[in-house]
Subunit: 190 residues, 2 copies
């Protein structure tokens, strides 16, 4: 399946830019590594990794236009946290433009920014691969890498909780979905 998607590489690169496209290649590779460890379908992990940012249009106005055109109303959380639009739009693009109909892959793309309660292994793998691919560099990335290769739920909790701390410190809007997920994985690992 990944071969069917790779043929769209130029189209995706044109939409999101080369730098972002190189990131998606690294996320694909990291997702495959994690899939091996956790016995998840490697091909699905590769496709979801490659496509997770396929709608990450850099121009926010253009992104919002595309969202509206594809039936995503830019209101509520999409208005307050525009950085989540590309995940929902990416899931739609994956289906409409790249013929992906696997629900698990589509959800992994859709929830890779906010997270959600009760994620599938593939969803967790894409969420985490996005954060730990080799070029990522932030406070805590070493611990998150370590946890990601050891226990997906512990890694999810660490990542979501760190995100909430960071957003509070920076006075940024916090999407409720991310808090629900944080509370959910807190209970999972306790």
């Amino acid at each position: 399946m990944i071969e069917d998607i790779l043929k769209y590489s130029d189209e995706i690169k044109d939409r999101i830019g080369e730098k972002r496209f190189l990131h998606t290649l690294r996320v694909k590779d990291t997702a495959i590594e994690l899939a091996k460890i956790y016995s998840v379908d490697e091909d699905k992990a590769a496709v979801a990794g490659l496509l997770h940012d396929c709608a990450k249009i850099r121009d926010v106005n253009l992104l919002k236009e595309e969202a509206q055109e594809n039936g995503l109303k830019v209101e509520g959380d999409f208005e307050k946290a525009p950085q989540i639009i590309h995940s929902y739009l990416g899931s739609l693009f994956a289906e409409k433009l790249y013929n992906v109909h696997d629900e698990d892959i589509l959800n992994a793309i859709k929830y890779h920014t906010t997270g959600r309660e009760n994620m599938s292994s593939l969803e967790k793998i894409i969420f985490l691969a996005d954060s730990i691919e080799p070029m990522r560099n932030f406070d805590g990335v070493i611990k998150l890498r370590e946890l990601s290769y050891k226990d997906l739920d512990e890694a999810m909790y660490f990542s979501l909780n760190s995100t909430i701390k960071m957003l509070a410190e920076k006075n940024i809007y916090i999407v409720p979905e991310t808090l629900y997920a944080r509370n959910f994985y807190r209970e999972m690992v306790n």
Copy 2:
């Protein structure tokens, strides 16, 4: 009205202990001070301040029993964050035992732990007085006192955001209501 409530002082002291009762007297006085500044009914502020912890039974099992007997099911957030039970139960006690029927006072008691979106001035005053009464001592209390006497919404945001940071740092369950309120007051002050 406050005179009608003060006659229940011994009953309340017996239920919550002397130390906690002395705290409620300080919250009452701080609430009156804030009420003066923000042109809120001082008598209502006194009553809400005096009664805000009237159900803070120290024995958690007894507290849960009382909650159940008063129709509050100990599940969901009450189970995950038992520290909020006394606020809801206190609101019921205020009405049933102390004949308070003013909705604003009852809500000020009910939401003094979690906060909520779109609080009345009285609700904000009780929420803040609880945190800044003279014996309170925690990181940030000086800034919170300053803000409380300057701008209720800024104080609410500072308090709610600090709480979320602290709960994330300590890996404690975060009640969604508190996040909704934090996001709401973030928008108010931006």
